[in-house]
């Protein structure tokens, strides 16, 4: 009887020792997830989410304090990708996704004030003072930072126009599956 009690106690002590050492040895430091998420973010630091830049958002998402739907320029596509990355299921029904968008300057209203130019995080607006500005399509991320700055509401966001080169076959809908 005594042997059983002693051996069990000793076993407990040894295992406890092992666990204690293991917990120290394999302690995880840092958060590689945040870095991976940051790589997925648009990276334009447009600030529409209300946080200080994309890396701050990535950290918040990794910690779980921000939802995956936080990034407006990323839209539904980014939210889906983030949800897949984190292994969570997200109801994307509420995410308003008008597809990729770009800014457009209404030439007749633009007064050439240059405010939008200064706000653009990717230098996508070109122009000079008192000249009509223009948006470089390839550089615009559709973040909308410029829209708020325009004093004459000359800048609007519109969906990226579908061209022959951009058109994608729709996914077939099978009635029997519904």
């Amino acid at each position: 009887m005594l042997a059983a009690v002693t051996s069990l106690t000793a076993l407990g002590a040894i295992l406890g020792c092992g666990l204690g050492v293991a917990a120290r040895k394999f302690a995880v430091e840092g958060d590689p997830l945040a870095d991976e998420i940051e790589a997925m973010m648009p990276g334009s630091n447009c600030g529409q989410c209300g946080m200080a830049g994309c890396s701050a958002v990535a950290k918040a998402i990794a910690e779980g304090s921000a939802t995956v739907t936080i990034c407006p320029p990323g839209g539904k596509a980014l939210a889906t990708a983030l949800a897949a990355k984190l292994g969570i299921s997200v109801d994307l029904g509420d995410v308003v996704d008008s597809g990729p968008q770009i800014a457009q300057v209404k030439e007749e209203i633009c007064i050439g004030c240059c405010r939008c130019m200064k706000a653009c995080p990717t230098d996508a607006v070109v122009g000079a003072a008192k000249q009509i500005h223009n948006v470089i399509r390839e550089a615009c991320t559709g973040c909308g930072s410029c829209v708020e700055r325009c004093p004459t509401e000359a800048i609007t966001l519109r969906p990226v126009p579908v061209t022959l080169q951009h058109w994608v076959w729709p996914k077939p809908e099978i009635e029997a599956e519904a």
């Binding site: 076959w169 729709p170 077939p172 029997a176």
Partner: protein
């Protein structure tokens, strides 16, 4: 004249028709089952006809009920004929004089729990008819192992319509007078008593392997040759390929040949194995079920051989005299694995999927 068509979602290529459809496949399949079924009816008389009707109707009923519950239109799915095929194949694998509720439960189980629960046609992992048969066999071992000696419907001693109906509804009155054993069951029982095959098969009461199929078994067992003929017709119509049937029969025949030549007193010969039980029905109609078998030719060969080999193993060393249903279900379970690992080679890539070396291809001429 400038024809202008309404602008809607673009129709996709191809813009030409084959005439092939699920319904057509199922109808041809059923047509090839007719001779064997009618021959079985002739051998086992009215009770077997009633059983067939009840089984098929139950299968259809189960399918329709599930479709209705799922809120789908029942008709198009019912018309594809897959539930009919399931019910029919199940009926062919039952003891011909089994009571009505066996067919009823089996049919419902096959379409509801073995098929629709998984999501309906195309989604079931296991062959519905065989799932139902195994369920019946395990649940009602007594009823599922009572076999009747064949008695052609034209024979004077055969039951008339009314008596057949009574047997079907109330059960068989004088069990010992009509029961018999299937060859595999008989051989197994006798072996377990320590009587070797030479003695047991030579005994006068022993069932014999005849090519006419006039012997004890299910509808699909007695008419093994007609079933095989139907299967050949299916191959001619290219509804099934040769891979699974040939591999499955080989899977049974090769071990049978080996063990029979080692010890004929303990192991049945090849013809007994191939023509008994559900070997033919299994090889041509059960294992070839599209949904539950692999998609590629290599996979089908492995699958078929596995079915055959497991059948032989279960028949010879297992607890049950017949093992086709179990073998097919076991192989169904590994079908996704087979499909995962046995893929066709992609043109321009090696077996592992890496692109070929252009220099080697260039040197070819």
């Amino acid at each position: 004249m400038i024809p202008v068509l309404p602008a809607s979602a673009p129709a996709t290529a191809p813009h030409t028709v084959t005439g092939s459809s699920v319904t057509r496949i199922m109808l041809i399949l059923l047509a090839t089952l007719v001779p064997a079924t009618v021959y079985g009816f002739w051998l086992y008389g009215w009770p077997s006809i009633f059983l067939w009707i009840v089984t098929v109707l139950s299968a259809l009923l189960g399918e329709a009920a599930c479709l209705k519950m799922a809120g789908r239109r029942a008709m198009p799915s019912l018309l594809d004929g897959s539930a009919l095929v399931t019910g029919w194949l199940l009926a062919l694998s039952l003891p011909p004089w089994a009571p009505w509720w066996i067919g009823c439960i089996g049919g419902l189980f096959a379409t509801i729990l073995a098929k629709q629960v998984f999501g309906g046609l195309g989604y079931n992992l296991f062959n519905p008819a065989m799932v139902a048969r195994v369920f019946l066999l395990i649940s009602f071992p007594v009823q599922m192992t009572i076999w009747i000696a064949p008695m052609p419907i034209t024979a004077p001693a055969a039951l008339n319509f009314h008596d057949g109906l009574l047997v079907f509804i109330r059960g068989i009155p004088d069990l010992d007078a009509v029961t018999s054993a299937s060859l595999l069951g008989f051989a197994k029982t006798e072996l377990s008593r320590g009587i070797d095959l030479f003695h047991s098969l030579a005994a006068s009461t022993a069932p014999v392997t005849t090519f006419s199929g006039n012997r004890t078994g299910s509808l699909g067992e007695t008419a093994a040759l007609l079933i095989a003929a139907g299967g050949l017709v299916l191959m001619a119509f290219r509804i099934i390929s040769w891979h699974i049937p040939v591999a499955m029969l080989a899977g049974i025949a090769i071990p049978a040949l080996i063990f029979n030549s080692i010890d004929p007193a303990r192991y049945l010969d090849v013809s007994a194995h191939l023509l008994s039980g559900a070997a033919m029905l299994g090889a041509f109609y059960i294992a070839t079920d599209y949904v539950t078998s692999p998609n590629t030719k290599y996979g089908q060969l492995v699958f078929g051989f596995g079915c055959g080999f497991l059948t032989y193993v279960i028949r010879t060393w297992g607890g049950y005299p017949e093992g086709v249903a179990f073998a097919v279900l076991l192989m169904n379970a590994v079908t996704p694995v087979i499909d995962r690992y046995l893929k066709p080679r992609i043109l321009g890539r090696d077996w592992r999927g890496a692109p070929l070396d252009p220099a080697i291809e260039k040197a070819k001429s």
